[in-house]
């Protein structure tokens, strides 16, 4: 150490990268842990309010039902008959995922029931209906 400090002619002018590396690796680990590969529905719907709604951290397959009955999944509008095959395909990739149905306030309960049945046929029994926990 001492001999190094006494040698100003040696060109040791590079920045010390190790603190930056530590920081970057920590950031990387944070993002690896928090990422959960959620399949977003892709449309905005008005969720009904509910005080008793609980957070579903594992709900990562989101199906949206608009007020006119359109079903959106994975940023595409799909037919009711395609819901089952789509869910089955995604369910094979990650067997522990659950479904959250984001239904519009004004959508029909019958449409929600049909989508729930399709999801159950695809093999996922943990289905919940999205609600806004803040109330109205």
């Amino acid at each position: 150490m001492k001999s190094r400090r006494h040698a100003p002619e040696s060109e040791e002018t590079g920045i010390d990268l190790s603190p930056m590396l530590d920081f970057t690796v920590n950031l990387l680990i944070f993002f690896i842990i928090t990422t959960s590969f959620i399949k977003e529905a892709g449309v905005t719907v008005f969720k009904p309010p509910a005080v008793t709604a609980v957070n579903k951290p594992s709900g990562n397959l989101l199906i949206a039902i608009r007020e006119n009955g359109d079903i959106w999944m994975d940023r595409r509008r799909i037919d009711l008959r395609d819901v089952r095959t789509q869910i089955e395909r995604l369910h094979i990739e990650r067997p522990d995922d659950t479904v959250v149905i984001i239904a519009d306030k004004a959508s029909n309960a019958g449409a929600v029931a049909k989508v729930m049945d399709e999801v159950r046929l695809a093999g996922i029994t943990d289905v919940s209906i999205a609600a806004n926990p803040n109330g109205s």
């Binding site: 190094r4 040698a7 002619e9 040696s10 060109e11 990268l17 190790s18 930056m20 590396l21 970057t24 690796v25 950031l27 990387l28 993002f31 690896i32 928090t34 990422t35 959960s36 590969f37 959620i38 977003e40 009904p48 309010p49 509910a50 005080v51 008793t52 709604a53 609980v54 957070n55 579903k56 951290p57 709900g59 989101l62 039902i65 959250v100 149905i101 984001i102 239904a103 519009d104 306030k105 004004a106 959508s107 029909n108 309960a109 019958g110 929600v112 029931a113 729930m116 049945d117 159950r120 943990d126 289905v127 919940s128 209906i129 999205a130 609600a131 806004n132 926990p133």
Partner: protein, 135 residues
């Protein structure tokens, strides 16, 4: 350059070159930042009856709540307000403590009303809710 290479063997510069590892880690970091989606959904869980359960659930043990196409809520053969569902459920569950709730919604009943009823039943202390639709 030439001068440096001549000097080097005397210096204690034995560290591994970190630059390729740093490149790789930064790329990985950017990938995860891009793919990260911070969506946390909140929801209510309701059951759907299977074809076998449907008959057994229809007996007098369960509390039935009907939702009509126009959003009217019927409990115990009376039309009630959405905010009165909780009181009705509490009253009926006091009589029949281990009863579940069966929500019978007509096909075109609004989902907002359905969620409101589920919320009220939860507030009334019952979490065993089955949701069925009628034509």
């Amino acid at each position: 350059m030439r001068k440096r290479r001549h000097n080097e063997p005397t210096e204690s510069s034995t560290g591994i070159d970190l630059a390729p590892m740093l490149d790789f880690v930064t790329n990985l970091l950017i990938f995860f930042i891009i793919t990260a989606v911070f969506v946390k959904e909140s929801g209510l869980t309701v059951n759907r009856p299977t074809s076998f359960e449907q008959e057994s659930k229809d007996d007098a043990k369960s509390i039935q709540i009907q939702i009509l196409d126009n959003g009217e809520i019927w409990v115990d053969n009376r039309a009630v307000d959405a905010r009165a569902v909780r009181a009705n459920v509490e009253r009926l569950s006091a009589v029949n403590p281990d009863a579940g709730v069966l929500i019978l919604a007509q096909d075109k009943a609004p989902t907002g009303t359905l969620v409101e009823v589920v919320d009220q039943v939860h507030l009334g202390g019952i979490y065993n809710i089955t949701f069925s639709t009628t034509q």
